[in-house]
Symmetry: C2
Subunit: 353 residues, 2 copies
């Protein structure tokens, strides 16, 4: 089967209705649904409406808090700490981002460490919103309840993959970097396990310290792990990034592995910079434009396509979504449809069907 395309408003209504039926505050459900569909528009379909089937049981169990407010632990104007009380990450991050942008507009930059959020989804969804408004936005996240990546030289999973992203204004559309500190992600590991397939490269580490292509080592006893960026060859570099992100998201937030939480959650560090408060927006765009241009014109490795700048493909996806509807992989639609059946919500038809 080929992937289906849907009207964005239909998908948003579907996500919003499902989240509301599972008990989420209607205002929060609207924001979460909007951000999930924007994520699908960017082409990151692993983190769009496909998350709804995972969020619904979290709402029903109370692991995702369905209403109420975050706690402002510290507001120092330029630096802030919030306790998210496990409210939906999209809801918390939407407000955190707006506040950081406002403060960066006043002070030149601002940062917020958010502890005890629920899952925040796709980082580029947020960084692209800041970049569209002319700001540089850095986001890193970890889950102090998760253990998937061992410190380099060790064998016991300790860190989460610790994703980080940065978005900034570019020539025509934003640059959107969105990556993580491990070679691959938990989603990819689960996907291979579900399909019964192996990685093409030895990106996993078994509990004996041997690199392997087998994703199932994470379910073995004792558990294996995902290798940090750099793998067996130069994995101290991924370990370094992972450590830094644990520090920024947990130590600066004053909550983390020391408290040994067991609930699915996210700690986040978000920082916004105003180029106007540094060397100015026009010189900023001149430098970014020159560099992007040099990257795209760089002679490609024979047999490979032109060099891309991160964000180029997302821009194409957004543009195509606007004209052709939002693409969803079949596998995602199957899971969303199952949730809709469970909550007795009617499904929209695909575009052009």
């Amino acid at each position: 089967m080929t992937d289906l395309r849907f009207a964005r408003d239909d998908l948003k209504t579907l996500a919003q209705t499902l989240l509301t039926r599972a008990g989420l505050d209607p205002e929060m459900a609207e924001v979460v649904a909007e951000l999930l569909i924007r994520t699908d528009e960017l082409g990151v379909t692993t983190h769009g409406i496909s998350m709804v089937p995972y969020y619904l049981p979290e709402l029903k169990s109370g692991n995702m808090t369905a209403s109420g407010e975050h706690e402002v632990v510290r507001d120092n104007k330029v630096t802030m700490v919030w306790d998210g009380n496990y409210l939906p990450g999209h809801w918390l991050m939407s407000q955190a981002l707006d506040l950081c942008i406002e403060r960066a507009g006043t002070f030149g930059m601002a940062a917020l460490a958010l502890r005890r959020s629920h899952h925040i989804g796709c980082l580029s969804t947020f960084t692209s919103m800041a970049a569209d408004r002319g700001f540089v936005c850095y986001i890193a996240t970890s889950d102090p309840s998760g253990k998937w990546v061992a410190p380099f030289g060790g064998t016991e999973p300790l860190f989460t993959p610790n994703p980080w992203a940065v978005g900034y204004p570019g020539d025509g559309h934003p640059v959107l970097i969105d990556t993580c500190s491990s070679i691959t992600t938990v989603s990819k590991v689960r996907e291979h396990i579900n399909k019964g397939t192996q990685f093409d490269h030895p990106w996993m580490l078994d509990a004996n310290g041997e690199a392997t292509t087998d994703p199932a080592v994470v379910n073995a006893t004792p558990k294996g792990s995902i290798l940090p960026v750099g793998g067996m060859d130069h994995g101290h570099k991924g370990y370094a990034t992972g450590l830094m992100i644990e520090m920024m998201t947990q130590a600066l937030a004053g909550h983390g592995r020391a408290e040994a939480p067991t609930r699915w959650g996210g700690n986040v560090f978000v920082q916004v910079f105003d180029p106007e408060a540094f060397g100015g927006s026009a010189p900023f765009l001149r430098e970014v434009g020159a560099l992007n241009d040099a990257c795209r014109k760089n002679r490609p490795i024979p047999g490979l396509p032109s060099v891309r700048v991160p964000g180029d493909r997302a821009h194409e996806n957004v543009t195509r979504s606007q004209t052709e509807g939002v693409r969803l992989p079949d596998e995602v639609w199957t899971r969303v449809a199952a949730s809709a059946a469970e909550f007795d919500v009617s499904l929209p038809g695909p575009v052009g069907a």
Copy 2:
């Protein structure tokens, strides 16, 4: 021959005298010499007094500015931009760091983008000074005149290795992360070329886009390059870090590759965070301590030593330097001795000789 050890004051006097004889302002020479010797004490002997033989001709040619002041391009209190006028990087960074620490103490965090500095040396030398005072310090640097690393998927060198470092208070001694966006460094490439040796792994890329262990591809026509972190396997991750650092050090500073400078220089982004203005210093140390402890206790890969936290070895080196003198590799001493002969400066004897 075995490495030699020297009294730190003897080495500092030697570096200071050499720099002064080559024309550097005496006050600047004192600061540069002090920071170079601290770098040797950390054990980073590639970036300590060993840099003096490279700086002397730069001073004589005028490529390193020997006196005068930097220009304050922007002072927005929390965000700053300086034009370094190619003054010694250690001198500029020493002042930039003090100012960022002072501002972070007031506002919670502060950042400075420095353009047109000369070489700033070892990043950990600066981050350790901030960490010793209780602050988190992030530093990234690029040289917009240098081209060594191709964007992932491309074959033409475009970026510098773009080092980055973060230092922060830890349990007993600071955590000192100091790494870069390429798999290996220009220094290591030159070292292999000088020795006629190859890398153990395919960390280089020839101009045809083939990975190779041969460092000499950087001198071929057309030029090869150093692979980004992740190599052929997942080098888009190192490319992402490299792009971000070019943006922070050049676009935010309003000067970079768009101006196509040709002079050996450094653009720097330095940011200082006060943990007290986030979740508090005590919770910060609790989280860092718990994580470091978990890393060090992680069961090592069979045959490998205990897992280390970055900064552990530097701490051992500093402690040993204080009791046994500062260790210098023979190769470094030979080059420094040649400079001393050229400038008619007498050499100190090694400790215990």
